[in-house]
């Protein structure tokens, strides 16, 4: 196995493109090294991207934030601007692993690992984040929803790397939230999860919403019917029930050692309902915070 420290995104992409065998990008390594140690994966080339200039930076951009692909979750969580604007994304990223894992793991790695249960992904999808992808033929931007392709799979080709993720600007009176269900309180994999991102008008009516579910289908699900169920409402009980029902209808989970189909489905609805309420309160809080400035 060869290990290479890339000095630029294009150098990384070139090396990956030229490797005839199996290659992998290394960010925090909290998925990759575990898979290699367990003997589930043998690779010929590992390309470490952490030394690419700028890849560990968080930069304000067009009212939002561009997060470098090698920003550790622990650093992300300490960024006051992102915390204030995208509390749901932050709480999702903050759930990944333990303190030690937080010091290494990245949201880009979480996304590129391709797990249907990845915690930050539903929150990024609800946020409508945009992923910047670099490859031998240059750089382009892709909606985050288009990256996952199924368990352990992404739409990236072997020479493409994610260099950053953009969390967009957002209107006033917006809030997001993420909840996952695990049988324990830590160190576990989501059995079902839900992220809700919404915007209110001055009367407290939802004007825009995105609802995404994790761990209930081969990849993250953006549930448009769930968003529709709450747009134009103030999250009255009927709206929340409709939201939960739409989420349940969007589930296509597996029955496995971590949870049954029935459990995953009903829990996805419960979590979406609870996350929507939190997002709603945050949106109102952000409006109040704005008003007092």
């Amino acid at each position: 196995m060869r290990y290479m420290t890339a000095q630029s995104a294009s150098a990384a992409a070139m090396a990956l493109a030229e490797e005839p065998g199996k290659s992998r990008v290394l960010a925090g390594g909290t998925d990759l090294l575990v898979q290699m140690k367990a003997g589930n994966l043998t690779v010929d080339l590992v390309v470490d991207i952490k030394h690419i200039p700028g890849i560990r930076d968080i930069v304000p951009e067009a009212g939002g934030f561009r997060i470098g692909a090698a920003v550790a979750n622990a650093e992300l969580r300490e960024h006051a601007g992102v915390c204030q604007q995208w509390p749901g994304v932050i709480e999702a990223a903050g759930l990944i692993g333990s303190t030690q894992v937080q010091g290494r793991s990245t949201i880009a790695g979480n996304l590129c690992n391709g797990s249907p249960a990845a915690d930050s992904v539903p929150a990024l999808v609800a946020a409508d984040a945009v992923v910047r992808v670099a490859g031998p033929d240059g750089t382009h931007d892709v909606p985050v929803l288009d990256i996952p392709a199924g368990p352990g799979k992404t739409t990236l080709n072997k020479a493409q790397i994610v260099t950053s993720i953009l969390l967009p600007a957002r209107p006033a009176r917006s809030g997001d939230a993420y909840l996952r269900f695990i049988p324990r309180t830590e160190m576990d994999i989501a059995v079902a999860s839900a992220a809700v991102n919404l915007t209110l008008d001055a009367t407290g009516t939802v004007t825009a919403a995105r609802v995404a579910l994790g761990a209930v289908a081969p990849k993250v699900v953006l549930v448009e019917a769930a968003a529709k169920a709450i747009i134009g409402t103030k999250l009255e009980d009927a709206a929340l029930s409709a939201l939960a029902q739409a989420c349940e209808a969007a589930c296509n989970p597996i029955d496995d050692k971590r949870g049954t189909i029935a459990f995953r489905t009903s829990t996805a609805g419960v979590l979406a309902r609870r996350a929507a309420k939190i997002a709603y309160d945050r949106a109102q809080g952000s409006a109040n915070a704005g008003a007092s400035k």
Binding site: K257, T267, V270
Partner: protein, 744 residues
Amino acid sequence: MALDQAKREFRQVGTRPNRPDGVDKVTGRAQYGADMTAPGMLTGAILRSPHAHARIVSIDTSAAEAIAGVRAVVTGVDFTPQEDNFLRDVQENCMARDKALYDGHAVAAVAATSPAIAKAALKAIKVVYEVLPHVTDVDAAVKPGAPIVQAGRALENVPAGMSENVTNACEFGHGDLDAGFAKADLVIERSFKTAATHQGYIEPHACLASFTADGKADLWCCTQGQFFVRTLCSAIIGMEASQLRVTPSEIGGGFGGKTTVFIEPVALALSKKSGRPVKIVMTRDEVFKATGPTVSSSMDVRIGMTKDGRITAGEANLRYSGGAFPCGTCDMGAQAAFAAYDVEAVRTYGWNALTNRPKEAAYRAPGAPQAIYAVESVVDELCQKLGLDPLAVRLKNAAHKGTLSSYGPTFNEIGLEATLEAAKAHPHYTAPLGPNQGRGLSCGFWFNFGGNTCVSLNINTDGTVGVTEGNPDIGGSRASISLMAAEELGIPYENIRTIVADTNSLGYNDVTDGSRVTFSVGLATIKAARDAIAKMKARAARFWGIDEEAVDWVDGAAVPAGPNAGKFPPLTLAEIAATSPQTGGPIAGHYEVNVDGAGVSFGVHLVDVEVDPETGATKVLRYTVFQDAGKAVHPDYVEGQMQGGAVQGIGWALNEEYIYGADGRLQNPGFLDYRIPVASDLPNIETVILEIPNPGHPYGVRGVGETPIVPPLAAIANAVSRAAGVRLTELPMSPPRILKALKG
């Protein structure tokens, strides 16, 4: 050996000094099983069956042997067949012979000059399997037509006509059941199931074996019993016990799971064949697949109660499976099931059925948590249905001194009533509960054990003392033993060093199990100290020119027994020790005994939980453990046992389970999907120690290591059932299972 006197004033016993092994452990210096190395050492690795049940048609090791760096390959045929059933089972569990009996069963092993070469060698071994139908569920295993795991293994007392998988049977109890049930106002019968769980010790099994050309061998390993390891390995390898020296390492948890051998005979065989030291360290995956979890169980319990809460009769049928080999754990479950109660008519039946799962090993109070979970669940439901206070009902029926126990003996001094009274008086019992919350209660019981014990206590010439004992320290026992030696000798705790010795240093010591160490080794240490004191008194008597009987031992010094004995200033231990080379040579105390009189131990657990009605998730809000310790020698470590048992029980009750797929393979051999509780899952576990002296120990000590894991399953099931408003009858009570029950 009887209790010295009921009201002894202790000076050191009952204090909480630092444990002697603490600094080494927190600084990373302690030597665990995997830390042993030897020059020229090879890496041993084991090939394991991917099938739940398969005939081994052939094993071709030639390609593996041809790999440069591979020094030895062994398979089942390299081990001498054993006559004795017990030894044969242990051996075949370490290395399969004709059949692979479970997913992960060892079929071959290699020793190589590097881990990578060992891994490559395993890949090069060609095993031809004839896959056989398998069975992993205890109820399925006893049905007609079930695959037979091993034929002809039923003991004589198993009734004819049962499935050939049924190997063990037992029955306990007394009284007229029909008459008893006839007196009841309400009879409830329920069936329960519990999943197999693993002890979950953090340190994987590890050993280093070194065979010399002249047939001697040394084995360093992580074990709860070096002497038993010697017995098993010398028999399996075919060597005299004297030629095998076993030295135990520090141990990173055992809980009963390290009371037998898995890799040790394999490492010895590889070392013998290669002529080089061989080290084997299990991976976590191997620990889960191929060491000994608990039995899995399926149980029926029927109990009758009068309107005012008197239990009139109780009956339990316990079907346990200890995996692919016969297992007597059902005996202990059947004995423990109703032990907390004074009942006129009681009967328990236990069965063991073979399944294609790893061979059960002990896990704290083996067999009792399951049985008591079933019994205490039914008692709780009776209390609910009859509108009775569950604690009052337990008190009303509690076993006490003179009770004919459900398993035969008549109880001596026991602490159950006092423990229940303590729970009743505790603020926890009457604290208010919120919505979706429930409070559960359960009694628990364990026999405790004494056993073969041998201790040496050496008086050093500088006035310090070395205690040499033979039981690996899995819970702070070196601290407790030092405390008892200090108490007896009258010198400071810091002046004593207690070590756990190899098999050549002492006579046979039984395994660290049965909650026996603080009790038995403590007893032997007290006796060894008294032996040394007698010798020191003799030296003083000679020095003073008076009779030995005229010398007393007070506060660490020999003193004349009274005014008639003469007027001499005290001779301290240090003074007697310093002059010992001139007064007859070294002074040492010894004691060897097969200890009786391990007092049984009762505990009561009280727990509050909250169940999320929408997801079935359970949160443990408050937990209090009440237990009779006889005498808490080092209260920290008694509390540690109580808390640890509660925590392991919380895991067992809520999330831990061996999950087998339809293919008979274990699906969760790792800590990600085998969910032991993490710190944030737990409230602080409160503890209340009671001290009702054990008449069988000089200081009144009872074993405390196992009782704490007995009540939690039932206590939590009762709390969850009350919170959820529906009776749960299967463990673990994982969220999907609770949600399903809630939705009816």
